[in-house]
């Protein structure tokens, strides 16, 4: 397993109430595997993804990346692990508006010596070789998402976590994006996509359903 959750519980304390979002989730993704996590809104899909991607800590349970227990790491170590192993693709792309496409792809590496030309290669790979110097405002939604995918790949992650990757795209660009993600899996990257877009099933190897905080 490249990324794995075991008995993960996530509770939020809000005042007197305790809200349990994940109630003992067991989940894993293999290298080169494309898994979709489906479920209604508010079932904890995004929380699960955040815990898997070390953005959030579980209240109970164990998180493993490539077999290593990463549950108790401090902020610095978790950041380092994210950088080394995890790539994120968000529904709203979250590109930095003042940077060009290439600079956006390079952004995760600027504090560790730059990407050494990898950013340009990745843009070529996602079909944006001729848009390297464009600002996000000059790109369409699908192009932005492809820039975001290239950014997720710049540190050569083992797993890519995508939160509603097609949520803001029309059908055609959504299909393009999913095709691109499928290609990445075939190159050995594990992908977890949380979504309620049924189409993604057509591209994935496996579907998991999350309901009321448990995988069913």
């Amino acid at each position: 397993m490249i990324a794995e959750l075991e008995g993960v519980v996530k509770r939020y304390d809000s005042g007197d109430e305790t809200l349990t979002v994940l109630e003992g989730v067991d989940f894993g993704v293999e290298r080169g595997e494309f898994v979709t996590v489906m479920g209604p809104s508010g079932c904890g899909k995004t929380t699960m993804l955040n815990v898997l991607g070390l953005l959030d800590e579980p209240s109970e349970g164990v998180v493993r990346l490539d077999g290593d227990d990463v549950t108790g790491l401090n902020d610095r170590e978790r950041t380092e692990a994210r950088k080394d192993s995890v790539g994120f693709v968000f529904q709203y792309f979250y590109l930095i508006p003042s940077l060009t496409a290439e600079e956006n792809v390079e952004a995760p590496t600027v504090f560790s010596g730059g990407s050494g030309g990898r950013a340009a290669e990745l843009l070529e790979k996602v079909g944006l070789g001729d848009r390297k110097d464009h600002k996000p405002s000059e790109l369409s939604g699908g192009q932005k998402q492809r820039v975001a995918i290239a950014r997720a790949l710049v540190n050569s992650p083992d797993v890519i976590l995508a939160d509603e990757p097609t949520g803001n795209l029309d059908k055609e660009t959504g299909d393009e994006t999913l095709g691109l993600i499928r290609d990445l899996c075939d190159e050995g990257v594990g992908v977890v996509a949380v979504t309620h877009d049924e189409r993604i099933k057509n591209y994935s190897d496996r579907d998991v359903r999350l309901d009321d905080g448990v995988v069913v």
Partner: protein, 375 residues
């Protein structure tokens, strides 16, 4: 990267910078103003701070002006004074009234001084001041203006003919022997007059002060023989007043820099709130907390530095204008004393910016990426 982030919102960054500019200009200009006032004062005082004037104690026979008798020093007393101030230049001065006649004008009574070495007390602005005055006289600048004599003119003093060897430079009002309205004649002309005062010139104001004390103690031990006047006390007092004034001016200037600091704080807070998601993404993709902190601090410092640099340029211009009007030399602004204030203002600007940037940077860097991305 820091620069680019600032350029993204040029108006806001510009205004924050402008605040710093004003702060720096306020501190530096007020500092320069204070320093220049001081310099101007010292220039006016000239070297009179180093001088001590000794006069005979006034003896009064009774109340009323008529009872004042004009006192002079005996040769013995002059010797005593010389002994108390070894190493200093001691100049006994004779003083009397003479009639000065030039051209066709009727003779006018003038106060005349006579000293053995005029060079010790006077400087010429026209002609020269000889080591010993024999066949000529020196004329104070105001006298020269009023009767229109030049160096080389022939004049008559009490029926003896003399040549004007030099017109004297204007002396500050604090000078103990002020020749502006008077003339200096050979000692032979005032042969029958005693020494009305003795001028002692030391190397420094402190030495002058010490000598003054020494003379008071040794010569006035039994009875009041001499009166001693010196400027060092006065100068010291004025200088400490001016230092206070400078400090006060700088404090006023500092307030504006503090205000500028608050505006940087505001700008940085707003921009971190705006870029919350962006920072969240950077953190998510593996940018360390410290890197985020560094870049935000760099932004704040850059604001402070750019504002400070512009402020320094303006301050030097303003300082040049101040110096031009007060000291007649705009380039005097480049003296170390002034540059110290400029450097201080710049350092203060960068420091304040860094300080103001610290809280927003810390806040942004420590936000959990999950929270930031949730919107």
């Amino acid at each position: 990267m820091a620069r680019r982030n600032l350029v993204r919102n040029p108006l806001r960054s510009g205004l924050a910078c402008f605040g710093i500019v004003i702060g720096v200009v306020a501190i530096a200009s007020l500092g320069i103003l204070g320093f220049t006032l001081q310099a101007g004062f010292m220039e006016n005082m000239g070297d009179t701070a180093n001088q001590v004037e000794v006069t005979p104690a006034t003896e009064t026979d009774g109340p009323g002006i008529g009872s004042l008798t004009q006192q002079t020093f005996s040769d013995r007393e002059v010797r005593d004074i010389r002994r108390t101030a070894p190493g200093a230049e001691v100049t006994p001065v004779k003083q009397g009234r003479v009639d000065l006649e030039y051209g066709d004008d009727p003779p006018v009574p003038r106060t005349a001084y006579a000293v053995e070495n005029p060079g010790a007390l006077f400087e010429a602005k026209q002609g020269r001041v000889p080591a010993v005055l024999s066949g000529g006289i020196l004329v104070g600048s105001r006298v020269a203006e009023s009767i229109e004599v030049n160096a080389g003119s022939a004049v008559t003093v009490d029926n003896s003919s003399y040549r004007v060897v030099g017109i004297l430079k204007e002396e500050p009002w604090t000078a103990p022997v002020n020749p502006n309205f008077n003339i200096v004649v050979p000692e032979t002309e005032l042969r029958d007059t005693g020494y009305r005062r003795v001028i002692i010139e030391e190397d420094s104001a402190e030495a002058a002060n010490a000598t003054a004390q020494e003379i008071r103690e040794t010569m006035n031990r039994r009875e009041e023989v001499v009166e001693v006047q010196e400027n060092s006390d006065l100068i010291e007092r004025v200088q400490s007043q001016q230092r206070l004034l400078s400090l006060f001016l700088i404090a006023v200037g500092s307030i504006s820099l503090f205000v500028a600091g608050v505006s940087i704080l505001n700008v940085m807070l707003m921009s971190t709130v705006e870029r919350r998601e962006e920072i969240g993404v950077l953190r998510a993709v593996g940018v360390q907390r410290t890197s985020v902190l560094k870049i935000l601090l760099a932004e704040a410092t850059l604001l402070g530095f750019v504002g400070g640099a512009v402020g320094v340029v303006i301050s030097i211009l303003v300082g040049g204008v101040i110096n031009h009007f007060m000291l007649d030399n705009a380039l005097m602004v480049f003296r170390p004393g002034n540059l110290r204030y400029v450097g201080m203002a710049l350092g203060f600007a960068v420091g304040i910016s860094l300080l103001s940037g610290a809280y927003p940077a810390w806040k942004a860097a420590n936000e959990r990426p999950v929270e930031a991305l949730r919107g």
